[in-house]
């Protein structure tokens, strides 16, 4: 249904800078009247401490599998026209995009809600980790509470 030619869906995981315009374009459709793009970026300051860059890594097969499942679940649950997600791996400098989620729907409420739901689930379940690089160049891997599910993720 796309009138301007279908845009390629973004890669689920990428080591390259994320093309946020492309992510948004990939959910464009004549059936959609609302298009939401969320981007997560590297903060320069967290809790008063300067961050130079973040480094991300993933269990790639499991991360890809879960990203597809969560993206498709979001599309069904919120009645989206289209949904896209991409997460960056490797070194991500301050201000650069580490994750992008796009959702299109007939109306904006569903699109906003879907993007928020999807980000929440990604942050809770998908096996991707970030490390903050300190001034000494040492990576501090973040493993926050609450714990991930032992066994199956929550429904």
């Amino acid at each position: 249904m796309s009138h301007a030619g279908p845009a390629e869906p973004p890669p689920l995981l990428t080591w390259e800078p994320i093309d946020t315009t492309g992510v948004l374009a990939s959910v464009a459709d004549r059936a959609a009247g609302a298009n939401v793009l969320f981007t997560g970026t590297t903060r320069g300051v967290t809790d008063g401490l300067a961050t130079r860059r973040l480094v991300y890594e993933a269990h790639e097969p499991l991360a890809r599998s879960l990203l597809v499942r969560l993206r498709d679940e979001a599309a069904g649950r919120f009645g989206l026209v289209a949904c896209a997600v991409t997460h960056r791996l490797g070194s991500v400098g301050v201000g650069e995009v580490s994750v992008a989620v796009a959702a299109s729907a007939p109306h904006r409420r569903e699109a906003f809600a879907a993007a928020e739901w999807l980000m929440e689930r990604i942050k809770r379940e998908v096996p991707i980790w970030k490390a903050e690089e300190g001034r000494d160049g040492v990576l501090d891997w973040l493993h926050p509470e609450p714990v991930p599910p032992h066994g199956a993720p929550p429904p």
């Binding site: 994750v99 998908v126 493993h143 509470e145 609450p146 991930p148 066994g151």
Partner: protein, 94 residues
């Protein structure tokens, strides 16, 4: 030698298991994987075994999930020798 079969072997093997490590666990252990003797057992047992084999990751292992292939495993899931497994510490993507 990797046997991806989820079926328990019919004869007791002298098996091993390669466990993939990530992020803070890999950093604490200074390695990306560890091979341990493994004749089969549950995901919960695997977590405990890893903590004994690698005390540096014990605290993280206690609050980690276990993955087989491209799915999370429940605590009582059976893991055969040679299966492809990973221990998944608390995630921090986004």
């Amino acid at each position: 030698m990797v046997d991806p079969s989820p079926e328990p072997p019919s004869t007791p093997p002298v098996g091993r298991l390669r466990i993939a490590l990530f992020a803070g666990m890999a950093a604490a252990a200074d390695r990306r994987s560890i091979d341990i003797p493994w004749d089969g057992g549950t995901a919960a047992m695997l977590r405990e075994r890893l903590a004994r084999e690698l005390p540096a990751v014990a605290a993280l292992a206690a609050r980690s999930a276990v993955a087989g292939g491209d799915a999370y495993l429940s605590d009582d899931a059976f893991i055969a020798p040679g299966a492809e497994v990973a221990v998944i510490p608390p995630v921090s993507g986004g």
